[in-house]
Symmetry: C2
Subunit: 319 residues, 2 copies
């Protein structure tokens, strides 16, 4: 089937926004917004971010979610997406149909319109890239650099599920966390309003919880104290060694955000009312660097705090 044929059969039905013109043109028109609009793009590569045998439905859901978590962390709700699909000639049309079906359902679930993209042959392996826009719910995007000393640090959901799923897969064990590895569970749309209303700074946790916390603090010109024993780990009773492993692995796609202490009560009320689990796990400081405690005792940190997904110029050993 030709590119035009694939587009008309599989992708055009997903493109229902007026500006998408059913993907007939090379450009799409962005919908008009009254407030600020943010944009992000994240790519996934076979053999680097996923294995050849991973279900394509999971790839589709993960592709959307890793981009949505960036948009939500900015205090924005996702709007419109462009897909770049590098498809190996060796994969079947059934595989493509399954990918597109899952992609369409996932985009629908978030209220996202597919408005454009490019499909190319990729003999070197499947790659996927999504560009996603989002409408800010505040007068400006929430960034990483807005936290102040004294602000409390919070995280949504649980940390470490992807690591537990990875270990289970490596050991050939069944695990309730297996799915978390393939398709991260991220907070819902209400998280955008929560960030916009409360956060002085926010980012998603993609490269390891501790490293990302250090990144947010550094961007804000602060240090940060983390109470590791307060972090909501997917394995509910880890020892320190396991906690450090789960906190430095990544692939969580939860939101890490700072809120002034005076806003704590309102934050907790709002989070409760919209059903988003949040945990207070630290505090920004006037110093610099990262200070971690575990049940009241200082923790010596491992040298590598997080995984760099996008490392280039070097082989990645992690799937």
């Amino acid at each position: 089937m030709s590119e035009r044929g694939w587009i008309e059969k599989y992708f055009a039905p997903l493109a229902r926004a007026p500006g998408a013109a059913r993907l007939s043109d090379d450009t799409a028109e962005l919908s008009r917004q009254t407030g600020p609009v943010v944009i992000t793009t994240d790519a996934m590569v076979e053999g680097v971010h996923f294995l050849s045998g991973d279900p394509v439905e999971s790839l589709a859901r993960k592709l959307v979610r890793v981009n949505v978590s960036d948009i939500l962390s900015s205090g924005a709700v996702p709007l419109e997406a462009l897909l770049v699909l590098g498809w190996p000639p060796s994969r079947t049309e059934e595989d493509l149909a399954a990918f597109v079906g899952a992609l369409g359902a996932e985009l629908d679930a978030w209220g996202i319109s597919l408005i454009g993209g490019d499909t190319v042959s990729a003999p070197g392996g499947l790659f996927l890239s999504l560009t996603l826009t989002g409408a800010c719910m505040a007068n400006a995007p929430i960034r990483r650099n807005g936290a102040a000393p004294g602000d409390e640090l919070w995280v949504t959901g649980e940390i470490g599920g992807a690591r537990l799923g990875f270990l289970a897969r490596a050991a050939g064990r069944d695990s309730p966390h297996h799915l978390q590895l393939l398709e991260p569970k991220i907070p819902g749309l209400a998280a955008a309003r929560l960030m916009a209303a409360h956060a002085s700074a926010a980012m998603d946790v993609s490269d390891g919880f501790l490293g990302d916390a250090a990144t947010l603090a550094r961007a804000s010109g602060c240090g940060v104290d983390i109470t590791l024993s307060d972090v909501p780990f997917a394995d509910h009773a880890p020892d320190l060694a396991e906690a450090l492993e789960l906190a430095t692995w990544g692939d969580d796609y939860q939101l890490l955000f700072a809120v002034p202490e005076s806003g704590r009560e309102r934050l907790e009320t709002d989070a409760l009312s919209c059903g988003i689990r949040i945990s207070r796990i630290g505090r920004l400081t006037a110093g610099d660097g990262l200070n971690v405690t575990w049940q009241g005792a200082h923790v010596n940190l491992p040298e590598t705090l997080g995984f760099e997904h996008g490392r280039i110029g070097a082989s990645l050993t992690r799937p």
Copy 2:
């Protein structure tokens, strides 16, 4: 070097727009525009769209231009870009520096700000994808579907240079067209105003001139008559066989556009004043399909009218 290191050393210096925040965050803020904004994305894959040995500087320039031609054809000027770079571990940092240098210069030349992106390891071969926004100069984007029977069909620049360059390279001959293959020469920014002011429909010529002309006509619910002997070919005196070859190859990235006959004089004046070469090469009709003449005589068309760059699910034999 880590992804963060590469970004800070090579990419952050290109990100000078305020909304880009020097690429420190996962999202960027789009600049606000009073009129409509269009968006496009085009990808290029090693072994499909270019050869492994092609100069990375040419790849950078081509990547920008194949996206800019889409934006210009919508009657819009390019604004902001996001880059997805899939970089094979086997390529050197010198190669990356050369790529980024050329990319920065090319973006600058078009007034485009790099505001975001993603860099990933790509063991299966280099791939590049750019997402580009554009500000419309009219109240709506110029699309493919706005032409009416009787409108005249025009094209900018020359057709067939990439094909001539390809043939020369295949034969090991030097050629003035070699560069056109590696990095297309496209019309300048003034083309956006020209499209916005005059065109009833427009698209860029990427998949073969005749096929693209048929696509524009079909999108507009028209047929089209093409006077092939009026097409400005890069080889100035082709015979019919060569003309058909050049008109069905693609990779031209010139603008193909329709203008009501009554607008011809103003169009020609404007094109002259902004230095854009245009040629009138056909007319939309009330029928359907494509009718081609050569020096007054009807031409029987080859079965394949254009090349599908993005064909997926099949091996591409063309570099």
